[in-house]
């Protein structure tokens, strides 16, 4: 490849393609398992493989569009989609995406520093900082949720919902499927934040789903289904915007699909056989490892834009360490999920017991016999 295209898109060799498919596979497994997209893993992973941040986000958003289109169909048939909620959120989500695309394009076109930095280092730094900030909050909140839950209370906290309901901000929208009442202004604000995050780091779900559950008071299943439905439109809008700007690398999108659409089936199976606490714990640990991986790369971008005085030779080590940590977290997470899937499959046996009267009519004489039971 030559010309300006060569500066924007990477050359893909066999090893790069395999790594990209592997990224997609791990992202797919995590996506199926967590139910909230695997872009938090794939976006930094692509950046570690040398893809510009803006191209990584653009390709990820486009990849998510097709995936959400298929996934939301299943959720719609299961009655987990509140289309009214999605509609109101989409109004401002579109504005959020447009804002994100504009910021990214401006930063990317502002170019690199004059100290041997790669073009787009400013955009890469911006993406990394947003990524680290948001996902640190998400990861720590999940960990707090895992270890700080009172006994017998399995659902989400309602403190924010109760507070906002107390404010009585008209007009209030009745969400029929979710069976909740939310102020339009809160919905619009939630949509804007979700759209902005989806357009910036490709993980709008990490804002959208918690917002729906903790701020709007929507049941978890409906929040996940509606987010996927919303992601289809946000992904389409984001993909069109990024494609219009010329940042979508269609080859990367197809390679990601090769892995993700296989991995998502395994991840989804994992959800059914692993307890909710373990799901949250595994997710939180993977997210925090991804955050650390991205944080390691930040000094590299700071040097490239001439903010940090550091030997350029360190770039290779920082990028290598970031890449190794990311793949380590992804592979470890995937292995843990696959372990649970296989273990559950092997355990899938039943108990068939007979409580028979062995001595006399008194209850004390009843005994338990197992008939070829495997527990």
């Amino acid at each position: 490849m030559g010309g300006p295209i060569a500066e924007l898109f990477i050359n893909i060799h066999l090893s790069g393609a395999i790594q990209m498919v592997l990224l997609g596979f791990i992202g797919g497994v995590l996506s199926g398992f967590i139910g909230s997209g695997g872009a938090f893993f794939m976006t930094p992973g692509m950046m570690n493989l040398g893809v510009h941040g803006v191209v990584a986000v653009a390709s990820n958003v486009t990849h998510k569009f097709g995936k959400a289109m298929i996934g939301s169909r299943t959720h719609t048939t299961m009655g987990n989609v509140d289309k009214r909620l999605a509609f109101f959120m989409l109004i401002t989500a579109a504005a959020g995406i447009r804002l994100a695309v504009w910021i990214m394009s401006t930063l990317f076109q502002s170019g690199a520093g004059d100290h041997g930095g790669a073009s787009g280092a400013t955009a890469d730094l911006y993406i990394s900082i947003v990524f680290v900030a948001i996902l640190t909050v998400v990861g720590l909140s999940m960990l707090k949720d895992v270890f700080g839950k009172e006994n017998g209370q399995t659902g989400p906290s309602t403190k924010i919902v109760d507070f906002l309901r107390g404010l009585h901000l008209p007009p209030v929208i009745h969400l029929k499927v979710a069976d909740a009442r939310v102020s339009l202004w809160i919905l619009l604000l939630g949509g804007l934040a979700t759209g902005y995050m989806a357009g910036t780091i490709g993980v709008g779900g990490f804002i959208g789903v918690p917002a729906m559950i903790y701020v709007f008071g929507v049941p978890t299943a409906v929040a996940a289904g509606t987010e996927l439905y919303l992601a289809m439109f946000m992904g389409a809008f984001g993909a069109l915007n990024y494609a219009w700007e010329g940042y979508v690398d269609i080859r990367l999108v197809l390679l990601l699909y090769l892995g993700s659409l296989l991995g998502i089936h395994l991840g989804t199976y994992g959800v059914k056989v692993v307890s909710e606490k373990v799901i949250r714990l595994v997710t939180a640990v993977i997210i925090l490892l991804c955050v650390m991986s991205r944080a390691i790369a930040i000094p590299m971008y700071l040097r490239q834009i001439n903010v940090l005085a550091m030997d350029a030779g360190w770039d290779v080590y920082l990028n290598g360490a970031s890449k190794a940590l990311l793949f380590l977290s992804g592979i470890a997470g995937c292995s843990a999920i696959l372990y649970y899937v296989i273990r559950a499959y092997l355990q899938r046996k039943k108990v068939h017991c007979s409580i028979s009267e062995s001595v006399g009519p008194e209850r004390a004489n009843y005994s338990l016999h197992a008939k070829g039971v495997a527990v």
């Binding site: 490849m1 995936k67 309901r165 909740a180 008071g217 979508v248 269609i250 059914k272 046996k349 017991c353």
Partner: protein, 512 residues
């Protein structure tokens, strides 16, 4: 043996009617309020639960376990009373506890709104307007409560046997009317309805005990009973509970058989005739194994043409020697509408293959319960709708006494009616293969999808440089609309073809 359940939004109206009726019948009257007191004493956070329902839906989710505990507690108590003999129970949505028990007389009482308002004004010392506002809010909260507990509207008439409007009727007249109604053959206990009550009672005992025991109280269990057999299903993520269930239920009175099945979800198979050697059995087993689902079988017996329009001569039971249950066709359509089962004698009677199919499902580790229901198809919708555990309903061989062409039409209509009324996907046995299993059609689809995905992939990678130039190169800037449209078209197409092919591969590997 009369079991009367009275539901009303007005506590005074239902209490007065229940007490008057109980006096006439010479039995005990039990109120929801007494149950609430006992539940609170038993440590169920009912106040929190009610407040959560009043506040909004998210708290419901948070307190889901408290709801299950409360329902298990109250079901045990009311079914215990009903088993003992004559009882009148009154509450807000008490009729929902006895759905499927034909001889339980379910009464809805519509209070005289003016009398209710006046009483509220006196009791709370409020003016007309404030009392009206108060009652409107109260009714709304009660509606939410019924929706939360049973997933139904409080006054849906389909769940009642009779609706009484007290505007022009005194309590005395209403109770006399109910007494005379209770003499009708439809509300007399039959071997089938008593067996159904006993199953309800046994399941309630088991559920309550499992919820209260710390060894099993933490798990999400589904408990049903049929005859003397208890069936429990538990989630795969909670498999360690399986070791505890037999110990917890070991000395449960009335139970002598326990089946514990690990299941991610439940498939409901509705049919009039079950045949474990038929292809449909194998197909349902196949889907159940792939999904990690338990299969619940429900025998549905539609009223025959001969019985339609005949005068009510009382339910005619044809006892048989089947262990799981045979339910007679009722003489009139209106006297039907519940899950029945029959006598408890063991043996192989004319039960439509229910018992033998249940045994086969147990052998294959996927048994999720068995029941029988007779009546109209809308009654079936009511029973299925009140229970949201299923992820698929399969309609098998029904209306078997009809000619093949009529059978096909009625079956299609029944599936259509169920689809309209319940949120769970409903398919016929014929559609099962096509939708969830791998056959020749799926193989062709797989090959087409895979070929299309490969072609798209090869085109993109063979011509990657010109394609990238077209998508992002400055020389093609004027064609950006076409480039954007190309991305918008190509990406979902590849996702559709490749996603479809990969899904079919997982289906082929029985891993979906």
């Amino acid at each position: 043996m009369a079991v009367v359940v009275i539901s009303s939004v007005d506590e005074r109206a239902r209490r007065e009617l229940a007490e008057c009726l109980a006096k006439k019948l010479g039995c005990e009257s039990i109120s929801r309020e007494q149950m609430i007191e006992r539940a609170t004493e038993a440590g169920i956070p009912l106040g929190k639960l009610e407040m959560a329902v009043v506040k909004g839906s998210t708290s419901w989710e948070r307190l889901a376990r408290a709801k299950v505990r409360y329902l298990a507690f109250i079901m045990r108590a009311v079914s215990e009373w009903a088993m003992k003999g004559n009882v009148v129970y009154h509450g807000r949505s008490s009729h929902m506890f006895f759905q499927g028990i034909p001889h339980a007389f379910k009464v809805c009482v519509v209070p005289d709104s003016e009398a209710r308002l006046r009483h509220t004004m006196e009791r709370l010392n409020l003016d007309w307007e404030k009392a009206g506002d108060y009652l409107r809010k109260l009714d709304e909260d009660m509606e939410n409560w019924a929706h939360f507990l049973h997933g139904v509207a409080l006054t849906s008439p389909e769940h009642f046997d009779v609706v009484l409007n007290l505007k022009n009727m005194s309590i005395q007249s209403a109770s006399a009317f109910l007494c005379s109604m209770l003499q009708s053959p439809e509300f007399q206990p039959t071997p089938a309805s008593l067996a159904a009550l006993k199953s309800l009672w046994l399941a309630a005992q088991a559920r309550d005990r499992l919820m209260r025991d710390e060894r099993t109280g933490w798990a999400d269990l589904n408990v049903t009973a049929q005859g003397r057999r208890i069936t429990t299903t538990y989630m795969p993520g909670q498999s360690r509970v399986a070791q505890e269930i037999p110990a917890v239920l070991s000395d449960l009175e009335g139970a002598d058989d326990l089946v514990c099945t690990m299941a991610t979800t439940n498939i409901l198979w509705v049919a009039e005739m079950f045949d474990p050697s038929a292809p449909l059995y194998g197909q349902i087993m196949d889907v159940a194994r792939r999904w990690g689902a338990a299969v619940e079988i429900m025998r549905f017996v539609a009223p025959s043409e001969e019985t339609k329009g005949e005068p009510c001569a009382g339910p005619e039971i044809t006892p048989d020697a089947c262990g799981i249950g045979h339910v007679p066709v009722p003489k009139t359509l209106d006297s039907t509408g519940g899950i029945h089962d029959d006598n408890e004698e063991e043996g192989q009677g004319e039960d439509g293959g229910l018992a033998v199919t249940a045994e086969r499902l147990i052998e294959n580790n996927v048994f999720g319960g068995a029941s029988t229901m007779s009546g109209r198809t809308d009654g079936l919708a009511s029973v299925v709708r009140s229970d949201h555990r299923y992820s698929l309903v399969v309609v098998g061989d029904v209306f078997t006494s009809k000619s093949p062409s009529i059978r096909v039409r009625l079956k299609r209509e029944m599936a259509g009616m169920l689809r309209e009324r319940i949120t769970v996907p409903v398919i016929t046995g014929e559609e099962l293969q096509e939708r969830f299993l791998f056959g020749k059609r799926q193989l062709t689809q797989l090959l087409v999808f895979a070929a299309a995905a490969v072609v798209l992939f090869l085109v993109v990678f063979t011509y990657q440089e010109p394609i990238l130039h077209f998508l992002a190169g400055p020389e093609w800037k004027g064609w950006r609309i076409l480039a954007t449209a190309g991305v918008a078209l190509c990406v979902p197409l590849f996702a559709y073809f490749y996603g479809g092919a990969s899904g079919l591969i997982f289906k082929l590997l029985k891993f979906r």
